[in-house]
């Protein structure tokens, strides 16, 4: 936990969010996809194997149009560096000086990159393909051994470090809620609001929650307009990271006797609940994307923790999968709306978790801690898409390869 977050000067205008230049070609979004998932990829010619930068429409060596974003070695050498003191672009002008470097990549191309404060010309670098505040794939270069990213304002600008930020976790009853709170506290979050639905029901590990420094419970039931609106009225302007863990897993196929009842309840929390959250907390977050100052960073991220069944329907979880599919769809709309404020929406697709609701799912299941580590890790790398657990990763890989085979596998009860 960090020291007390510096308070805002109420006489100053809240800085309005600006974004770095965002125009990219359709093809360049192959790099956006890699950056969103945290993969290091570069444009590569399918005919001759030449890497290039930036994205090209044809290979500069052989003129082949077969260009893809391919995994690439991330090593480079710094050729020269400079600092833009008075950039013309309003986004960079506000954040100047901005350090940039010219790098020679091990795999060939020379590129202009965002540069960590430490490296000097001639030194080895490690490149990262990441999303800037406009959601576009850009290159960042840091020291080869990793270096201290907490001192790199440019890195911090493009990631969602919980340090100094106040986090709302929407549902304490999720298996990952307590590990998330602990992890966020350890990473220096300035405070954790822990949503507790139906507070008249017991919370078994309440004492463990209360032992997390800086955590306080807030009443929050995503299935209730009033509850969500009331909380937003109270703390909407004090949340810099929102992690939506609300869920309502109920196993059962389409023909189960109470399928509609259970699915409606699931939709109320998972899908409509997300809409309620978006309506009440979305504008406040998007409006504070450039808020804050030294030690009190502004709003930066929204995380939706969803089931991988949002992508591939398990017939035995029919209604649950439908609700998560709806939430995933809403998630995309929300991303577009938050993006204007430079607030990143990260979707976390998890495999079956280690709790009673997924008792019959095959191992390996995702523990609350593994899920929490993935969420916080994704925030600190500035990701948009995170897949957690071997089951979910395997499912996504198979989906990319042959969706019909996945449908048949799940129909036969094989995950």
């Amino acid at each position: 936990m960090t020291q007390e977050r510096p308070r805002k000067n109420p006489l100053h205008r809240t800085r309005q969010p600006l974004l770095p230049p965002g125009g990219r070609s359709r093809k360049a979004h192959l790099l956006t996809a890699a950056a969103a998932e945290g993969r290091f990829a570069l444009p590569r010619c399918g005919a001759c194997g030449t890497y290039s930068w930036p994205m090209v429409e044809a290979c500069p060596d052989c003129l082949s149009a077969d260009i893809t974003a391919a995994e690439a070695p991330s090593g480079a050498v710094l050729l020269s560096q400079t600092s833009a003191e008075v950039p013309a672009d309003p986004y960079f002008r506000e954040r100047a000086p901005w350090r940039v470097g010219l790098v020679q990549m091990d795999c060939g191309p020379v590129a202009l990159v965002h540069l960590h404060p430490e490296p000097q010309a001639g030194e080895r670098l490690r490149l990262t393909l990441m999303l800037d505040r406009a959601g576009q794939g850009v290159l960042h270069a840091g020291p080869e051994n990793g270096g201290d990213m907490s001192t790199d304002k440019q890195w911090q600008e493009m990631t969602a470090d919980p340090r100094g930020r106040r986090v709302l976790i929407t549902d304490a009853r999720h298996v990952a809620a307590l590990p998330l709170a602990r992890k966020l506290a350890a990473e220096g979050a300035a405070g954790i609001f822990m949503g507790l639905p139906e507070s008249w029901k017991p919370l078994e590990n309440r004492a463990a929650f209360e032992a997390v420094q800086g955590l306080r419970f807030v009443p929050l039931d995503l299935a209730s307009d009033r509850s969500v609106e009331d909380l937003a009225r109270a703390i909407g302007g004090k949340v810099e990271i929102l992690i939506n863990t609300a869920d309502h897993p109920r196993p059962g196929g389409l023909m189960a006797p109470a399928a509609v009842t259970h699915t409606r309840a699931c939709m109320e929390t998972v899908a409509f609940g997300l809409m309620r959250l978006a309506r009440s907390f979305g504008p406040a977050l998007a409006g504070r994307g450039a808020d804050g100052g030294e030690g009190a960073p502004g709003a930066v991220a929204w995380v939706n923790v969803l089931s991988v069944f949002a992508r591939a329907t398990s017939p035995e979880m029919a209604g649950y999968a439908a609700a998560h599919t709806a939430a995933l769809s809403l998630s995309h709309s929300l991303r577009a709306q938050l993006g204007g404020g430079g607030v990143r929406l990260m979707t976390v697709l998890t495999g079956p978790t280690e709790d009673d609701w997924f008792q019959l799912a095959p191992q390996p299941k995702v523990t609350g801690k593994a899920l929490a580590d993935a969420v916080v890790g994704g925030l600190m790398k500035g990701l948009e898409e995170v897949v957690v657990g071997d089951v979910a990763r395997d499912l996504m890989a198979r989906l990319a390869e042959n969706p019909k085979a996945v449908e048949r596998d799940l129909a036969a009860g094989r995950l």
Binding site: E198, S199, W200, K201, P202, P219, D221, A223, S224, D225, R226, S227, R250, P257, A258, T261, H262, R264, A265
Partner: protein
């Protein structure tokens, strides 16, 4: 012949007869019955604004309202329980309207329930009440006052690892009330007409079992029972006329004789 309604009218106007509201406000966070999650759950109460003199309706305010039949202060019809499934006129839309106005006997168990969350109303308590106030008349409501309505949230639901702990009648007491006294129904201040642990009684949920099996009614989540005399109040409990409804939230009112009239 004396005009009874005219007399009632003037009694209400003069305060000789008072109206007591036995109903909780229908709110979204009022606890509802909790069942093991493999069973179908009751929808909670939801009050969702359509418009409030705003862009969605500039001159008018209205809400969408949704709830399970057994939420808030609510009424249980015979068809609610398997034992009452064959009772004629056993649903709220067909039950006789004459049953919607009936006298009430109030059994004060507040002191006992304060010290014992699992307090059970027994024959001994009922015998003592009859010794003081006379035989419980057939066709009357019996209301169990526990002051449980003073509790809020978690204390009201009082859920523990082994389920809810709230007062209620024991099996023999409710069987006797239904079959030996011919009561119209039984009302409580807790979430159910049965005790929180009533599922472990024999028969399970005896109040539901005996009341509804005999075509009688239940009222739960009542409040303000402390404002009623042990005997002499008139209860008006008219559930919504829901097609084949097993119950409904409702406004429960009691008419009581004013203080000055009683003394």
């Amino acid at each position: 012949m004396t005009d009874v309604l005219a007399m009632m009218n003037s009694a209400l106007a003069s305060g000789a007869v008072r109206v007591v509201d036995l109903t909780h406000t229908l709110t979204e966070d009022f606890p509802t019955i909790v069942l093991p999650p493999e069973f179908g759950p009751s929808a909670p109460v939801r009050i969702e604004q359509i418009s409030r003199y705003d862009a969605a309706g500039p001159s008018w305010y209205w809400n969408n309202l949704s709830f399970g039949e057994h939420t808030g202060t609510h009424f249980d019809a015979p068809a609610h329980w398997f034992t009452g499934r064959d009772c004629p006129r056993g649903t709220v839309d067909t039950m006789p309207v004459e049953h919607m106005i009936a006298p009430a006997c109030v059994i004060d168990c507040a002191a006992e329930s304060t010290t014992d969350d699992d307090f059970l109303l027994t024959r001994a308590t009922l015998n003592a009440w009859e010794a003081a106030h006379g035989t419980i008349p057939a066709g009357s409501w019996v209301l169990m006052r526990t002051d449980w309505s003073q509790r809020k949230g978690a204390a009201f639901a009082n859920l523990r690892a082994d389920g809810a702990h709230t007062p209620g009648p024991d099996a023999e007491a409710i069987r006797w009330l239904v079959h030996e006294r011919g009561i119209l129904g039984f009302g409580t201040e807790t979430i159910g007409t049965d005790a929180g642990q009533g599922g472990h009684f024999d028969p399970p949920y005896p109040a539901h079992h005996y009341l509804h099996g005999a075509g009688r009614y239940g009222l739960q989540c009542l409040t303000n029972l402390h404002e009623l005399p042990p005997k002499g109040a008139l209860v008006m409990a008219a559930p919504l006329k829901v097609h084949e409804g097993s119950g409904s939230p409702l406004r429960v009112l009691a008419l009581v004789t004013g203080e000055e009239e009683r003394t």
